[in-house]
Amino acid sequence: MTRFRPGIGPRAYARRPLPRRGNRPTARCGPPPSGDNVDQVIEVNGLTKRYGAVTAVHDLTFTVRPGHVTGFLGPNGAGKSTTLRMIVGLNRPTAGGATIDGRPFARHRAGLRHVGALLDAADVHGGRTAAAHLRALAAGNGLPRRRVSEVLEEVGLEAVARRRIGGFSLGMRQRLGIAAALLGDPPVLLFDEPVNGLDPEGVRWARGLFRRLAAEGRTVLVSSHLMSEMENTADRLVVIGRGELIAEESLAAFAARGAGASVVVRTPDAAELAAVLALEGGSVRADGGDALTVTGLSAARIGELAHQRRIMLSELAPRAASLEQAFMELTAGRADYRAGARTDAHAGHQPGHATGHATGHQTDHATGRRAGAPSGGAR
């Protein structure tokens, strides 16, 4: 059994710990390195999935460590769900592989005790009650029956436990999926677009839950196609586009990739102010009407300049570097490429791309880079 080692953080369900029935120490080679709990690391190594001529995931390598919420970002169709499914062994990789606790997930017998995963809230049978659904899952992993009521309470579904899932809203199904993921008190949690369909209160609750699970020392990977969802949740990001890794870094480092901080100004004399600010070294973009977006000058300096020239301002708002913007800029080239051509045959005819990333990969495709991809991991 893989369990938390003391000192990592408070146990999630410290109030109601699972009975430690027949703990079996996992074979380890020496002490785990540098404070990381090696048992909880998700390692994705050269992961590739092809469906005929279409490559959904290409040579993806990244590592997800415990103690953080890691955001798994990418535009729709980037291969996030395919990657998560390969991590938990539902889909067989064309090449490469993924390990949790240092071994492929499919080798674990009681999956829920190692990994809790909400892949798709629709992956339930509408004819069963919420309680029966969870009871079957708990039974299959030898978990005590009281875990069912505990997780139902945790996600706020105890009142509808005896209602059939078919009548649940998407938000309720998401909560049920989260409940199922928490059943086995697992050290690793995967959530695929978990806040879809949740109301604002539910979104806030889910974010709080993810942060709490990470603070308890668990490994938490949350996928989304919306950067804004990650801003208040994730500490680290794994960003993919068109099935390839774009970035694997901290949230702050990722944000810094976008255009820097800017200031939004509204004024009836937009043209005059724009001229003044440009003269002072600011870079000004007219957003239409009375709005300007200024980079290179602080809000204070802009206010001072406007005051000197007796230009009335109706709004003066500093904007931090936008994650959304960084995300859009980094993935734009990928989306472009995907829309243009998906197969290698077309790659050579693609025009050049604005971002170095896209151009680099395009060349790789044209020259048949996949020949060198690791293939030993295919099972």
Binding site: M1, R21, G22, N23, R24, R85, V88, G89, L90, N91, R92, F105, A106, R107, H108, R109, A110, G111, L112, R113, V115, A117, L119, D120, A122, D123, V124, H125, G126, G127, R128, T129, A132, H133, R135, A136, L137, A139, G140, N141, G142, L143, A180
Partner: protein, 265 residues
């Protein structure tokens, strides 16, 4: 390690089977319908008995009143659909992904499913076989034409009647695993288990007879379901018929294991 015991998987599959209301309805109503059909048929014979000709009386088969070809068809279609739905229900809804993340060892999940479905349908089949026999012979004994368990061939017929259910159910699971689509699976179950074999008759071609002798519903009709088996090269033997009863569920179980293990979900 206590986690991952096979018993846990059996419990999980048991919960899954009975937490769907359709299971209780199908098993309950199906059992009642077939037993009621035996009662109705036997009462009919009881009342008509004085008017039967000597020829009709000589040809009368009390076991046929208990469990006719129609009863067998109903039982096979019901059990086959139940077996198909236990696996199609997982694939069609996407539940299979949740199931396999919870228990990544696919062959163990399939083995547990096969076991639970086999046990439940065998129990149901046994109940139906015993119930129809008891009800009909109680009625027919009023005319002195009932048979008893000790009469030749009777126990074999009752066993064959009961086994139709698990044979059909496991075959249905194999079909469900292959097709993974509710309507297609149920239609195929009906066609393969009952409708097509209904048209099989002994022929003058030995190879065709040998082929027919591999089909459970056919061997039940012309051999296992009859108290007296005729010796005829065109007809299947008792031993061969039991082999056909074993062949289908075993092949279906193997197919289910292979396709569930190999396919992405």
């Amino acid at each position: 390690m206590s986690a991952g015991r096979f018993r846990d998987l059996l419990v999980a599959e048991w919960i899954k089977l009975w937490s769907l209301r359709s299971t209780a309805w199908l098993v309950g109503l199906g059992t009642l319908a077939i037993v009621a059909f035996a009662a109705q048929s036997s009462l009919n014979a009881y009342q008509s008995w004085p008017g039967f000709t000597a020829m009709e009386k000589a040809m009368f088969s009390p076991l046929d009143e208990a469990f006719s070809g129609l009863s067998a068809s109903l039982l096979m279609i019901g059990a086959g659909s139940l077996g198909a739905l236990t696996i199609v229900g997982e694939y069609a809804t996407g539940l299979i992904r949740t199931t396999l993340v919870a228990v990544p060892a696919r062959h163990r999940v399939v083995a547990a499913k096969l076991t639970v479905v086999a046990v439940v349908t065998l129990a149901t089949g046994a109940l139906i076989s015993a119930g129809t026999f008891g009800v009909s012979q109680a009625i027919l004994s009023g005319r002195g034409v009932a048979v008893s368990l000790g009469d030749p061939g009777v126990l074999r017929v009752l066993a064959a009647n009961a086994l139709l259910a698990p044979v059909a159910a496991l075959t249905g699971m194999g079909i469900g695993a292959l097709l993974r689509h509710t309507a297609a699976a149920v239609v195929t179950v009906c066609a393969a288990l009952v409708i097509v074999p209904t048209f099989f008759r002994p022929t003058v071609h030995q190879w065709l007879d040998d082929l027919y002798a591999l089909v459970p519903f056919y061997v039940w009709r012309v051999c296992l379901g009859l108290p007296q088996v005729r010796e005829d090269p065109a007809l299947p033997t008792v031993a061969g018929s039991w082999a056909a009863f074993a062949l289908w569920p075993l092949a279906a179980a193997a197919v289910t294991l292979i396709v569930v293990r190999r396919r992405d979900v």
